[in-house]
């Protein structure tokens, strides 16, 4: 598999007003890999995730410094088209947030606003493809015109993943994507993530240590806005380099 770097971050700093939320973050995220971000609440992992598609720009007083390259282009460059960036960097949130539309419309929405289809037939094909990729097609193929809210929580989350996939991003950010799901839905999402990495680069924030251990190829441990340790997940969960990482992941912390 291609081990080239998709996202390269050097000396990245971020502030919310006076609060220094990310301090000199250096990290390289390889293509077609799953990278998990772990750490206690307020450690900066979500801030970091939301910096990758500039979601933090929407927060007043947010300021970023340093370099964050997506395929050699600086995400924070003045002339970057943020809308285009977000098309390349999709996001899935903690709580499934389908639009108040039908299942099919939820998926085709991105195609329509980005004018990414050639006629109705092509649009339906793309909708189907995304739903297949998200592992939802078999469950909804006869209900495409029903409201998305009729789906279960786990199905809604897979719908949101399909919605992110339809506009063919390069990177998918997931902010605790299974935090509100039951164990079976969680297992389905985790399986899905493994399949998706063949096509996409995935960055996932999780509070669930075992989830990071199960799904991620690499794991970054954040604390107080810094990356304490970043490396191979199997090593991190058997013999982390730093004592503080060991204390945190084994729950001896604080």
């Amino acid at each position: 598999m291609d081990e080239s770097i998709r996202i390269s971050v050097k000396k990245f700093n971020a502030w919310y007003g006076e609060k220094h939320a990310l301090k000199d973050v250096d990290i390289e995220i390889p293509r077609n890999r799953i990278v998990a971000m772990i750490g206690p609440s307020g450690c900066g992992k979500s801030t970091f995730l939301r910096s990758i598609n500039r979601m933090n720009d929407l927060i007043e007083g947010f300021k970023a410094q340093g370099s964050m390259l997506l395929d050699d282009r600086d995400i924070y460059d003045k002339d970057i088209d943020v809308t285009k960036l977000r098309r390349n960097v999709g996001m899935v949130f903690q709580k499934p947030n389908p639009f108040p539309m039908t299942i099919a419309e939820n998926i085709s929405y991105g195609l329509r606003i980005n004018r990414m289809f050639k006629g109705k037939k092509d649009m339906l094909l793309q909708v189907e493809k995304s739903l297949i990729e998200a592992g939802l097609w078999e469950e909804v193929k006869d209900d495409l015109d029903k409201s998305a809210f009729e789906l279960s929580g786990g199905q809604q989350q897979r719908l949101c993943i399909a919605r992110a996939l339809v506009i063919r991003p390069q990177v998918i950010l997931m902010d605790e994507p299974t935090a509100s799901l039951d164990p079976i839905s969680t297992a389905k999402i985790e399986e899905l993530i493994q399949v998706l990495k063949k096509e996409y680069t995935i960055v996932i924030v999780t509070h669930n240590m075992q989830q990071a251990a199960r799904v991620a190829d690499r794991t970054a441990f954040f604390m107080l806005g810094e990356i304490v340790e970043y490396g191979d997940t199997a090593k991190m969960f058997t013999k982390p380099d730093k004592k503080i990482t060991e204390d945190y992941i084994t729950g001896r912390f604080g």
Partner: protein
Amino acid sequence: MERHFDDELNDMKRNILKMATMVDESIAKAIKALVERNPDIAAAVEADDEAIDMLEIEVDMQCLALLARRQPIAIDLRFITSVQKINNDLERIADLAANIAHRAGVLSKNPQLKPQIDIPKMAELVRAMLKDTIAALVEKNTELARTITARDKEVDEFYVHVFREILTYMMEDNGNIKTGIEHILIVKHLERMADHVTNIAEDIVYMVEGKTIRHKFEK
């Protein structure tokens, strides 16, 4: 932060220490049975072995339950998987002590080949290795654990030395062959015990440092 999990891990550790103490006593008793030519002590060692077997199963169950319930990672994972192996090695040492006791029982019914000098000395080496290994486990002292490998070589040399000596008795008089073989098997059992103790010491280094030193793998 205090974790209830730590109580469970400590409970398991106490069982391992208890088992190590029982195993050490078994070795001591087996050698006593041999030196004193006492079949009653020999029979007691064989009975003790059953209690050690039961404890082995208990520790095994504790490990499995903790793996299933806690999904341990990092030091917790290394500790539990190491305990599983240490548990198994201790049980094997106890089996070897029982084998020695059994042979001591057989020898007590036969004329004495020679006064027992070397075998008790060798057994003391093995017991000292076991004691230090268990101390290394309690103190997480990998420096001490690393000394065990070198001491295993001493035991190996002892084995070769005693083997040759017994061989001379057998060559002198083929009436000595039966008891001679029993002696050789006893020193072989002691030599194997030292190997198991060495395994335990290596597991302790892995548990504490995450480094593999088995099979001359130390980097």
